[in-house]
């Protein structure tokens, strides 16, 4: 007993002293980072290491540290099928970086540790931070054209504002980030058409009709169970009223749509949508619906999608991919039809505005993520990355591999032309095992769209084209310094006002002036001034 305890004691001291020596090296490596912010050195070393490890054909594989898209927070193994295939095809050595681009704190810690990956995927909301910190290198327009011509075409075709935003230096013709996703998805609103039939109503076309539908859905027992236990829709944040806001002439940030809307007043001054008269009218409208009991009473509910699944509400606003049953066969929308085989749904067209005008949709950037290149990444590495991106668009087999694996083995194509996972290859853990979806460039060309969404993709595109879309006055991603400082305070006031007024805790009319005063005082004034300065002195100088 005695001896054992002593040896345990010794072991502990040993462990700690090892840790201590580790600490010694820590301080030196720290200073290293500070002085030369190395990386090119590192990659050079790695090059040599790899050359020793592998018996390569003729050239050394180019090492690439890749921050990608970990589905469900799971990372592909280094020897997964997709990683191996990319390495073989492009003669690269992929190092999967374990940081989730969806989680800014993980990205920040990665950068803080002195690690600068070669391919960086980053949320649109964090792009300013990346640029300000000087973490990325630029990529010339010529290089894009040379190595990723299809991609380049698609980017400019679909994102004319990209060259208008912070990521592009027009003088040097250099991109500091390129979009990963492409802007085609406004939030859609779906409505239970079997409910509409049951209460004997037609698809609403304006706000009055919408209100009437809400009444019928709440009071006329649309699910026919004899109980008054249904509601028109639920609200937990302003995303849920996105399409209603459009009828008042502006778009609201919320859910995955991060862009804010600025509206030019008759005096020529730009104001944030949340402090305009239209917003006030919207709140009045929504709070009236709430007070009449048409909206699900609990606005703090966490799993509000389940309300639609369970047939408690009959109207839901969400991103269109959620409404594609075969694309997300296990998700809440698909479950609606499993739980209730009689359920039928359809998209709601944009409603006419409160003054009889068309609903206005601001052109959302819809770039949810950017791809950038680390500041120490070499031209050779950039070239390889661009080639990998380009190949996804032009090479159908490679596109499929990156997204879903091998046809016949991991997925099949159904009669509508849509890809369906075989067995449980659509499962998050299996996706990580295979390595799919991690390296995706989120653009789709032609039949790639059909593969992803089947016929729905065309229906949705057609729908979207019926929307009345206007340009953003302040392009998304424009850095607004005052927002960094006051953004959180201002947003708190907005959120607080939104939920308090629609639930009737506060009266919109009575509280409006007070709200404006608090909003401006909390830093809204500074943000608004800066936005106007940007608009008139930078974007529209002449």
């Amino acid at each position: 007993m005695k001896r054992r305890a002593i040896s345990l004691l010794l072991l502990l001291v040993l462990v700690l002293s090892v840790a201590l020596t580790g600490c010694g090296t820590n301080s030196t490596s720290n200073t290293n980072n500070n002085t030369n912010t190395s990386g090119s050195n590192d990659s050079g070393k790695q090059n040599a290491d790899n050359a020793g490890d592998k018996t390569v054909v003729d050239e050394k594989p180019v090492p690439i540290k890749w921050v990608g898209n970990p589905t469900g927070g799971l990372y592909p193994d280094d020897n997964s099928l997709v990683v191996k295939e990319i390495e073989k095809r492009f003669n690269v050595d992929i190092q999967v970086m374990k940081a989730n681009s969806n989680k800014p704190e993980e990205m920040n810690l990665l950068f803080a540790s002195g690690e600068i990956p070669d391919h960086i995927l980053i949320r649109a909301a964090d792009i300013n931070m990346i640029l300000e910190e000087g973490l990325v290198r630029g990529v010339s327009e010529d290089m894009l054209k040379e190595y990723a011509p299809t991609y380049y075409e698609r980017v400019l075709e679909n994102h004319p504002y990209v060259t208008n935003s912070v990521v592009y230096d027009a003088e040097k013709k250099v991109f500091y980030a390129i979009p990963q996703g492409m802007g085609e998805l406004f939030p859609f609103t779906v409505i239970r058409t079997d409910w509409l039939e049951k209460v004997g109503a037609k698809m609403p076309t304006n706000l009055e009709e919408f209100e009437e539908i809400c009444r019928l859905f709440t009071e006329e027992d649309p699910d026919g169970n004899g109980k008054k236990d249904t509601y028109a829709f639920s609200v937990t944040n302003n995303y849920d009223v996105y399409n209603l806001a459009a009828t008042y002439g502006f778009s609201l940030p919320g859910g995955v749509v991060k862009d804010e809307s600025y509206i030019k007043g008759s005096d020529g001054r730009l104001r944030r949508a949340e402090v305009t008269e239209g917003y006030k009218e919207l709140l009045k409208y929504v709070s009236r619906l709430y007070s009449k009991g048409y909206i699900y009473p609990d606005v703090t509910i966490k799993d509000d999608e389940a309300l639609f699944t369970d047939g408690v509400v009959g109207i839901k606003t969400f991103d269109s991919t959620y409404f594609i049953v075969s694309y997300r066969p296990n998700d809440w929308f698909a479950l609606t039809f499993k739980k209730n085989p009689n359920a039928k749904t359809e998209y709601m067209r944009p409603l006419k505005g409160y003054n009889g005008e068309e609903a206005v949709y601001e052109y959302q950037s819809s770039v949810w993520r950017w791809q950038c290149f680390g500041k120490n990444t070499t031209d050779e590495q950039v070239k390889k990355i661009l080639q990998i991106i380009e190949a996804q668009l032009v090479d159908m087999e490679f596109h499929n591999l990156i997204w879903r694996g091998i046809e016949g083995e991991h997925f099949t194509v159904d009669e509508s032309g849509m890809a369906i996972a075989v067995g449980d290859w659509g499962n998050n853990e299996k996706i990580a095992e295979l390595g799919t979806r991690f390296f995706i460039c989120n653009l789709r060309v032609g039949e790639q769209r059909t593969l992803a969404w089947g016929r729905e993709s065309e229906v949705q595109r057609e729908f979207q084209e019926s929307y009345n879309v206007v340009e953003q006055l302040i392009p998304s991603g424009t850095p607004i310094a005052a927002k960094t400082e006051y953004g959180a305070d201002v947003e708190k006031i907005e959120k607080e006002f939104f939920l308090n007024t629609i639930t009737g805790v506060w009266d919109v009319e009575a509280e409006w002036d007070n709200y404006l005063a608090r909003w401006y005082k909390a830093g809204g004034q500074k943000i608004e001034d800066e936005v106007n300065d940007i608009y008139y002195n930078k974007l529209h100088k002449n």
């Binding site: 004691l9 502990l12 001291v13 700690l16 002293s17 840790a19 201590l20 600490c23 820590n26 720290n30 980072n33 500070n34 912010t37 800014p104 704190e105 920040n108 950068f111 803080a112 002195g114 964090d126 931070m129 910190e133 000087g134 973490l135 699900y296 009473p297 609990d298 606005v299 703090t300 509910i301 966490k302 408690v312 960094t484 400082e485 953004g487 959180a488 305070d489 947003e491 708190k492 959120k495 607080e496 939104f498 939920l499 308090n500 639930t503 805790v505 608090r518 005082k521 909390a522 830093g523």
Partner: protein, 324 residues
């Protein structure tokens, strides 16, 4: 209270005050005498050095403009900029007040709950029943706030929550509990009590068990009722423990319980429920302003320390009990 059991959790601070008592020769003698023990201390101290003191340079972030690439040491100094920003923020008064008032509510309501519970439990005479109740009340302590908050949301739901279901039998409600600013702090307090009343009572139950039984016997012989015994023997006997625990709680007054509030609050109750902890979290989440959020937590710690010193001073003056 036996003399040889003295020494509270931080009483050793008093030892710092009298370092010069021993002479150099004496020190050498004691070093020799306690050689083994001093060696034994080394691993622990090394651990503190590595895991606590090495990262402590991070406190300077609060006084710097932290830049990722420059690192903490290389980032430029910013003086009190971040503190000024905090104090000038339009939300500061509200958030600070909320933190303070929830902290005070915790002292008034949450703190005595386990004491009362311990005393009541002590009055239960069926040992097995007592043990069972004890075990059951420890249960919620082991569950994280995420889960507890989920339970609270379900139970308090205005549409299908059990509480409203029961209230409807009495013709009341439905109430949208979590959307009522006037009772939100109450929910925070009650759920906190629910979670920790059993666990918190362990200390007091232990203290009650430590009371000399002869005191009770003597009181019984004198014909004292049970209430009498509770108020004249039980409570005064555990008072020192209660005071020490109280002081420790005062030191934590500014810690709003981030996990708890974050999982329970919503924008409707921001004005009563947003505390420094949640505020700094949101600021950090939106802007990744490490400097700012470090400044906020430093401010919190300092205010907590000040509270601790003040209450310790007052209690020492009035009751001769204190942390040091």
């Amino acid at each position: 209270m036996k003399k040889n059991q003295s020494g509270s959790v931080t009483s050793s601070v008093s030892a710092i005050k009298k370092p010069g008592v021993s002479k150099a020769g004496d020190l050498l003698f004691r070093c020799k005498r306690y050689k083994g023990l001093l060696i034994m201390l080394i691993p622990g101290l090394v651990w503190y050095l590595i895991f606590k003191y090495v990262p402590m340079y991070g406190v300077t972030i609060a006084f710097k403009d932290y830049k990722l690439l420059k690192g903490i040491m290389g980032s430029p100094w910013a003086g009190f900029k971040h503190f000024e920003r905090l104090f000038n923020s339009s939300q500061f008064t509200n958030v600070f007040w909320n933190t303070l008032i929830i902290g005070i509510y915790r002292l008034i309501f949450s703190f005595p709950a386990p004491v009362i519970f311990a005393i009541l439990l002590n009055e239960i005479r069926h040992e097995r029943f007592k043990k069972t109740i004890q075990s059951i009340t420890y249960l919620p302590h082991f569950i994280s706030w995420v889960v507890v908050a989920g339970i609270i949301h379900t139970v308090l739901s205005p549409v299908d929550g059990v509480v409203n279901y029961i209230l409807q039998f009495f013709g009341l409600g439905p109430y949208k509990f979590l959307m009522m600013p006037e009772i939100f702090r109450g929910i925070i307090i009650v759920s906190g009590i629910w979670k920790d009343i059993g666990w918190g009572s362990i200390v007091y139950l232990a203290a009650i068990t430590g009371i000399d039984p002869q005191l009770y016997e003597a009181a019984t012989i004198d014909g004292a009722s049970r209430f009498r015994k509770i108020f004249s023997i039980t409570i005064p006997s555990i008072l020192p423990v209660v005071i020490v625990m109280f002081l420790m709680k005062v030191g934590n007054i500014m810690e709003g319980g981030r996990d708890q509030i974050m999982n329970l609050y919503n924008p409707i109750v921001y004005r009563v429920g947003d505390v420094l902890d949640t505020y700094s979290y949101r600021v950090g989440l939106i802007d990744f302003d490490y400097s700012y959020s470090t400044a906020i937590s430093l401010f919190q710690n300092v205010v907590g320390l000040v509270f601790l010193f003040i209450t310790n001073f007052i209690t020492k003056r009035t009751s001769d009990e204190g942390l040091w």
